[in-house]
Structure formats: C-alpha cells, structure tokens
C-alpha cells in the first residue's frame, strides 16, 4: 500500500484556469520527496488536495493516503476528518495561532484523537502535555514552550508546526514551502527536522521547495511541475542544470531579474549532487515514471 496515491487529479478554478491537469503519482511509505516548480505551477494546489482541504474536478480519480480515501471524483467524504489526523500539514507561514502558547499550539495535534468533550474546554492530560514537550524537544525549541507563538522567529514557528505533526502521530507530512520565508540557517534546521522525522519514524514527507539545492540535498526523489503537470519524477541526482533552467524558464522571462535566476542555477550546478542516506533502502525513484528533460522540451 502506497503512502500517497493520486490518480488523474485535475483542478479547474473558476475563470477556467486549469491549475492541475490529470496529475498521477505514487509515493511509498518512508520516502522523502521534493516538489519543485515555478511559481503558479500548482505545487500548493496539489498539496492542499492531498490534505483533503480542497476538492478536485468531477473528472478526477482518487486520492488515497495509506489506503484511506481522501477524495474521489472531486468529492471529499465526511470521514476525511478521521483520515486527516494521519496527515500532518506544514504551510509556508501562519501555521500557528499567534495568541496561544507554543505548547498549546503543539497540543492541537491531539485534537483529532483525544475525546472532544474534554479538549473543547482546553483540558489536556499530563501525558499529552508530556508528548507535546517531547515533540518540542525533538525539534529543538522546548525552551520556548511557554512563549506566545507569535513571539517565535519564522523558523521556530515552522519547527513548532512540525512538532504538532509529531504529536499528531502523522504518518505523512505535507509541507508547502516550509522554508520559503526563512534565512539559510533556519531553513537548514527545518529541513533537518523534517529529514530526521522521516528517517527515525519512517514518516513519509512530501515537501514543496523553491530552492532546488535543498531538494537535491535532502530529498532522494524529486517531482517537478510545470503548468499543472508533472514534468519530471525521479532521482534528484538526475536533475540537470539544463532541465532546471527550462523548468524555471517561463518564469524568468516574466521576471526581469535574470541575475537572481542565474544565481539559483549556479548553486544547483556547483553543489555536489549528494543524495543523503536513502531511508530504509527504498528504491529511490524506482517506480518513477521519468519524463526526461529531452522529451519534455521538444514541444
């Protein structure tokens, strides 16, 4: 049973903008997969569909997470609340309730499982609090547990959001550009946290990233999107600078800031393409339907 399976997912927003065009993909348990693509390529939209937060077009197939149906033919079943607790979501920003303490925010992870008659009054057991503290320890911010969440730095907030998915006992973490607004040092910490949860707990991670070098460094497998379609799915070390230039090309025409674009590619180029330890000996990208850059560009 795959951790994530998406069949022929399409999404048309009002105004005829087709954000996703018959996307299909499978991710096995324990994989750590990067999702890359230019702005507007559909990364966030895909992630929100897998999380069951939005529904696709009627023509779409199924989305399953660990075999549980998240949506089919554009319909989200009522039972999805039960399945959501196996899916941890980390957004780019604003994951936390700013006025509540960090610990309380992390405790939100138990809401899907703990009895509601108690949690609606904000009553949490000792062991729940302990597990929240342990989760904060694992992401290295236990000393901030009592602070108000909006007093944390951006990176610390992201790590608190990861701690929440740990408390949740999520089997799958979906992270939508978790490091997009962070400096390199904080980015590294957040990615290390995700990577460690993936390695130690065998949690499947799908993370969308703007920085290709992080994808190559942390994720054995990369899925690249353009205009709502998957244009590459395979081992991250198979990504060529030429492909990446093409992938972000459409954007760089619009942006006049070519200098910045070149910088990104240069980084990707000089970085030794080192895939970190493959989690649990999974065949990296073994099942990947690889669309090679060459076939992609002759259109």
């Amino acid at each position: 049973m795959s951790a994530i399976s998406v069949q022929a997912l399409s999404k048309t927003f009002s105004g005829n903008a087709k954000a996703l065009k018959e996307i299909s993909l499978t991710i096995e348990e324990g994989e750590m997969v990067a999702l890359i693509g230019a702005s507007g390529s559909g990364k966030s939209t895909l992630i929100r569909h897998v999380a069951g937060l939005v529904s696709g077009d009627r023509s779409s197939g199924e989305i399953r997470v660990h075999g549980n149906l998240i949506q089919r033919s554009g319909r989200i079943p009522r039972k999805v609340r039960q399945h959501r607790r196996h899916i941890g979501v980390v957004f780019q920003q604003f994951n936390l309730i700013g006025r509540l303490s960090v610990l309380t925010n992390v405790l939100m992870g138990v809401l899907g499982t703990a009895p509601a008659f108690r949690t609606i009054f904000g009553i949490f057991t000792k062991s729940e609090k302990r597990s929240a503290l342990q989760a904060l320890e694992r992401v290295g911010i236990e000393s901030h547990a009592d602070k108000r969440a909006d007093k944390l730095s951006g990176g610390q907030q992201q790590r608190a959001a990861i701690a929440r998915t740990i408390v949740q006992g999520a089997r799958v973490i979906l992270a939508d550009e978790p490091i997009a607004s962070l400096d390199p040092a904080s980015s590294r910490k957040v990615m290390d946290n995700l990577s460690r949860v993936n390695r130690d707990d065998n949690v499947t991670v799908l993370v969308s990233l703007h920085q290709v070098d992080y994808a190559i460094q942390y994720c054995p497998r990369t899925i690249a999107m353009r205009d709502g379609q998957i244009v590459f799915d395979g081992a991250s070390d198979k990504l060529t600078p030429a492909f990446l230039q093409e992938l972000y090309g459409a954007e760089s025409v619009k942006l006049t800031n070519e200098e910045k674009q070149r910088e990104t590619f240069a980084e990707a180029e000089v970085k030794p393409v080192n895939t970190p330890e493959t989690p649990h000996g999974l065949p990296v990208g073994a099942q990947a339907k690889t669309v090679t850059p060459e076939t992609q560009f002759v259109q």
Binding site: A51, L53, R81, Q82, H83, R84, R85, H86, I87, G88, V89, F91, Q93, F94, N95, L96, I97, G98, R99, L100, T104, M108, G109, L111, G112, T113, A116, T119, I120, G122, A161, R164, Q168
Partner: protein, 266 residues
C-alpha cells in the same frame, strides 16, 4: 506662459465636473432642509421671543440641590447594575449568535436567518423593548435588564461576527488539518484571534448601556431615570440639576475607566 496655459486647459474639464457635482449636492441638502421645515415645526423666533422665559427656566436649575444625594447615588448604582447585567447577558448570547451569523464559519442557510433575527433586535430601540418588558414582567429594573439584553445582543452579535469574518483563515486551516472538528476550529482557531476585539466591543457597549439605563426609568424600567422623570414633571428643577450632574459625573468616570481597559486589551 504657454505651458501654464496648457496645464489649466487640461485640468479645466475635471474641475468643472467637480463643481457641478458640488452644486447638485448642496442643492439636494437645501431642498431636504426646506422640505423638513414645517414637519419639524421650526420656530427659531420662539428662542428670541421666549428668551426671558427660558432664562428664568435655566435659572431655576441653580443652585442644584444635593440634599438627597444618598438616594440619587443609590439609584445611580442600580442603573449601573442594570447595565452590567444587560451587557453581560448580551455578551454571553452574542458569542454563539455572532459565530452563527459569520459567513466564513456557517453555511448561508444558518447565517442569513440568524442575521435577520439580530437585525430585528438591533432595529428596535431599547426604550421600546423596555416598555414591552414592563408590561410582561412588571415595573422595575428587571424589565430594564431584559431590554438592554435583547437590544445589545443584536448589536454585539453583528460586531462580533464582523470580527470573525476578518480573521486570518490560515491558522484555522492548520488546526483543521490535524483532524480537529468544527468546534475545535472555532475554540482554538477563531476565538483567540477575535478575543481582544470582542472585549473591546463589549466594554464599549457597556459604556453606552450605562447611558441608556439612565433613561430606562422614564418608562418604569428601573434606575435613576424614574427619579429624573418625577422631578422634571413635578418642577423640582434644583433636584433635577443635581441628578443630571451626578449622571454626567458617573458616565464620564465609567467611560474613562472603560477606555483604559480597552487600551489594555488591544
């Protein structure tokens, strides 16, 4: 020279248009004033003709007579107590009604009927409610409490729901994504975001409820208003002046306190 001429040429049509709109606007206002003159029984000359009467009337208020100040104070305290109960009951009711009339939380077929109900509670003045409740539960402060409760619920529910509709939906989605239920989303996602505003609105309503409570007594719904009405009707103007001064002092004091508190929460 020629350049200056050009610029004025360019700006002329726009300025022209604006001045026409100006004239029309003033015209409408003047027409409205003329139309309302008779209905409002406007007799400015009466102010001058009756000047002597009026100054005598004004003079009869002085000096204010504070002999019975203890009784006035007692009634003012009752007035404040009416406002406290009316406001607190309204706040309690406005939490569910405010959430049920927020478009971003509930579907339209819950939101719209709740809103209409709140509109009705708001449209009817608290004095009208007071008269109705005096008939229903009898003379006295309790009728006043009920009147303030209903009217204030209509106002606060609207203010509360406006705050709810302006929240940041992203953290709420973060909670939803953990598998939490809808009530969890409201309690942990929505309320923490709106609480400071809600407190501020409630204090503000308390201020105006104290002011409203000072006249509830006129229709028999308790508080200082009853005393005030009796003094005015009995031509006890020195006592009336004392009561009015004490009301002004109390209301200003409470406004100041409440403003302080409101600054603290936001």
């Amino acid at each position: 020279m020629s350049q200056a001429l050009k610029i004025s040429d360019l700006t002329l049509p726009k300025a022209h248009k604006r001045s026409i709109m100006n004239i029309i606007g003033w015209g409408i206002l003047l027409a409205l004033l003329a139309w309302s003159w008779e209905g409002a029984d406007m007799r400015p000359m009466a102010l001058i003709d009756d000047a002597e009467n009026m100054s005598q009337f004004a003079a009869s208020f002085f000096p204010p007579d504070f002999t019975e100040w203890e009784m006035y104070l007692e009634e003012i305290i009752i007035t404040i107590q009416i406002a406290i109960w009316g406001t607190v009951l309204a706040v309690v009711m406005s939490v569910p009604f405010g959430i049920l009339s927020s478009e971003n939380i509930v579907p339209w077929w819950i939101c719209q009927p709740t809103r209409r109900l709140m509109d009705a509670a708001r449209a009817i003045n608290e004095m009208v409610f007071a008269m109705l409740f005096v008939v229903a539960v009898g003379l006295g402060p309790f009728a006043g409490v009920l009147a303030l409760w209903i009217h204030t619920t209509g106002i606060l529910a609207k203010l509360f729901s406006e705050a709810v509709e302006a929240i940041d939906p992203r953290p709420v989605e973060g909670i939803r994504a953990t598998g939490a239920n809808a009530l969890h989303e409201v309690i942990f996602g929505v309320i923490p975001q709106v609480l400071p505003l809600w407190i501020s609105f409630s204090l503000y309503r308390f201020e105006s409820n104290v002011r409203s409570a000072t006249v509830l007594g006129i229709v028999g719904a308790g508080g200082i208003g009853m005393l005030l009405w009796e003094y005015i009707r009995g031509f006890y103007y020195a006592e009336t002046a004392a009561v009015i001064l004490m009301i002004v002092a109390t209301v200003s004091l409470l406004d100041m306190l409440s403003q302080r508190l409101r600054k603290m929460v936001t």
